[in-house]
């Protein structure tokens, strides 16, 4: 098992004092689903947004520690952030399709990267839609506005949009929180396929989803990593009392 991401003593505090991380250390294995779960405000989203440096857009008061992806410290201010974001794709809680056609949503990132060849773009559209299990539903209407899709389809389009850039890591921040059970099932099924190729970090919207999807699971509470182990172990025999209380529904 190769460690794709190594997080060392990561601490972070936002300027408005809302969410924070305290001394989080974690290794994320490649080609598996690692789940970050816990009650709201625990720092899961913050950690995700560190991994593609999206926190650069937010006012951060203080941060320390290192995040190594393939051995490179991505918190180093001198790294190529654009290249990092192409390598680390992200899907947000609310599906945000860009105000353009389905095809344009998928080719947007590639075009920003300078890809102009029609054949390459078409190839990426088909490949990413198939990976996100959306191809069969939209292949005859790629030029339609993306907003015309249903919520579940929009979220899979967002997933496909990240995949079109051929990332190595995919971050999913409660990707199914607004979806019905059938759409949620489709997204989860897509993840099972995707982990053969990609390193996936998922913030699930429920403990049940965490238990269903996790190869590895990390339990966060108020900015602290409480427990981290293989999913099977963590959800059946947690070591920490706080973890057990949370997964058995005693708080949260």
């Amino acid at each position: 098992m190769v460690d794709k991401i190594i997080i060392e003593d990561l601490s972070l505090q936002y300027s408005d004092g809302t969410e924070s991380l305290r001394d989080v250390s974690l290794t994320v294995p490649e080609k598996a689903v690692t789940v970050l779960f816990g009650p709201a405000g625990g720092g899961k989203s913050t950690l995700l947004r560190c991994l593609n440096r999206l926190n650069d857009l937010t006012e951060v008061k203080a941060s320390s520690g290192r995040i190594l992806i393939d051995g490179q410290n991505i918190l180093d201010p001198d790294i190529d952030v654009i290249a990092l974001r192409r390598k680390v794709g992200m899907v947000f809680a609310r599906p945000v399709v860009l105000p353009m056609s389905i095809r344009e949503n998928l080719t947007y990132g590639l075009e920003l990267a300078g890809e102009k060849r029609r054949s390459k773009l078409d190839e990426a559209v088909e490949r990413s839609l198939k990976l996100a299990a959306l191809w069969e539903e939209v292949d005859d209407r790629l030029e339609d506005p993306a907003i015309a899709l249903s919520g579940g389809q929009q979220q899979r389009l967002c997933l496909a949009r990240s995949l079109a850039l051929q990332p190595e890591i995919i971050l999913l921040d409660e990707p199914t929180s607004g979806l019905d059970p059938i759409s949620t099932g489709k997204v989860e099924a897509a993840l099972v396929e995707l982990k053969k190729e990609f390193t996936i970090i998922l913030v699930p919207h429920s403990v049940q989803q965490a238990a269903r999807t996790a190869d590895y699971a990390a339990f966060f509470l108020q900015g602290e990593l409480v427990e981290y182990s293989e999913g099977k172990t963590l959800f059946t025999a947690p070591k920490e009392k706080r973890t057990e209380d949370y997964i058995t529904g005693r708080f949260g």
Binding site: I82, V96, L98
Partner: protein, 287 residues
């Protein structure tokens, strides 16, 4: 007792509604009345010769072509200076500037700029463009003066339109490896464009109808020919209207109203274009 009370309440409600409706009608009435009055009084003056001919007999006869062309030139000149500058300033304020004392000062300055009387802009233009920069009484000096007056309108409407574009689009674009500028150019500006255009047109429309700022900076009482370069003075519809209404004795009233009608149509057409752009964009908007 109870019944009477509820009747009273109904009556009060009815009266209230009637009052508000009347007030709403009252606000529209003067505008409609003005337009109809000018239309009725001015329409008989409109002819091909009036629109395409030069004034003669001390402007008491003939057409108003030089004034129409002049206003067109001034509007275009104003657009050339104020549109790029205004949009650039709006992009800076909305997309790049942090909330610092400097940007707050800029914002306050813009708001105050909008409140300055237009004749003050005229005097400022006279001092800066006509005299100090030695542009003379010219289309250039007048356009620059009108631009300064128009800028606050363009900046504030453009900034508002840019800010209305959902933040989530920016986040998504950045997360897909977009730079800030790529995000602005491909998404934010594209989505804000109808709103920006509306502001631009409304700003230019005001510039087209203003008299005071061009009075000292570029407007001519009478010119026997069309202006040949940006350094020439020009006739313009609003100033021409002022001249023929107050400065020329025995002026046929018809020509005055005809000129007013042409100016009104010019400005209302721009307004209509802005309205069409806005409503079409609203129908097409995907957020």
């Amino acid at each position: 007792m109870r019944r009477a009370f509820s009747l009273n309440r109904h009556l009060a409600q009815r009266l209230g509604f009637t009052f508000i409706t009347l007030m709403a009608i009252a606000t529209v009435l003067p505008i409609v009345a003005t337009v109809i009055y000018i239309l009725v009084k001015g329409a008989p003056a409109i002819s091909l010769e009036f629109l395409t001919g030069f004034p003669h007999d001390g402007m008491r006869a003939g057409g108003i072509l030089p004034a129409i062309i002049g206003t067109l030139y001034l509007t275009i000149g104003t657009a050339i200076f104020s549109v790029p500058l205004g949009i650039a300033a709006a992009i800076y304020l909305s997309e790049y500037a942090a909330d610092t004392p400097l940007t707050r000062t800029i914002r306050i300055a813009i708001i105050n700029l909008a409140g300055i009387p237009s004749v003050v802009y005229g005097l400022f233009g006279l001092g800066l463009f006509v005299l100090f920069l030695n542009f003379g009484t010219s289309i250039l000096a007048a356009s620059l003066t009108l631009s300064i007056m128009t800028l606050p309108v363009i900046i504030s409407t453009a900034e508002e339109s840019l800010r209305a574009v959902p933040q989530a689009f920016r986040t998504v674009s950045i997360s897909l490896g977009g730079t800030r500028w790529q995000t602005i150019r491909r998404i934010v500006l594209k989505e804000a464009l109808p709103g920006i255009l509306t502001g631009v047109i409304l700003g230019l429309e005001r510039a087209a109808g203003e008299t005071a700022p061009i009075l000292f900076t570029g407007a001519a009482f009478f010119l026997p020919r069309l202006p040949g370069s940006p350094f020439d003075a020009t006739m313009a519809l609003p100033y021409h209207l002022f001249v023929i209404s107050t400065q020329v004795p025995e002026m046929p009233i018809q020509i005055q109203y005809g000129t007013a009608l042409v100016l009104l149509v010019f400005v209302l057409t721009m307004n209509l274009i802005a309205t069409v752009i806005r409503s079409r964009a609203r129908a097409r908007r995907q957020w």
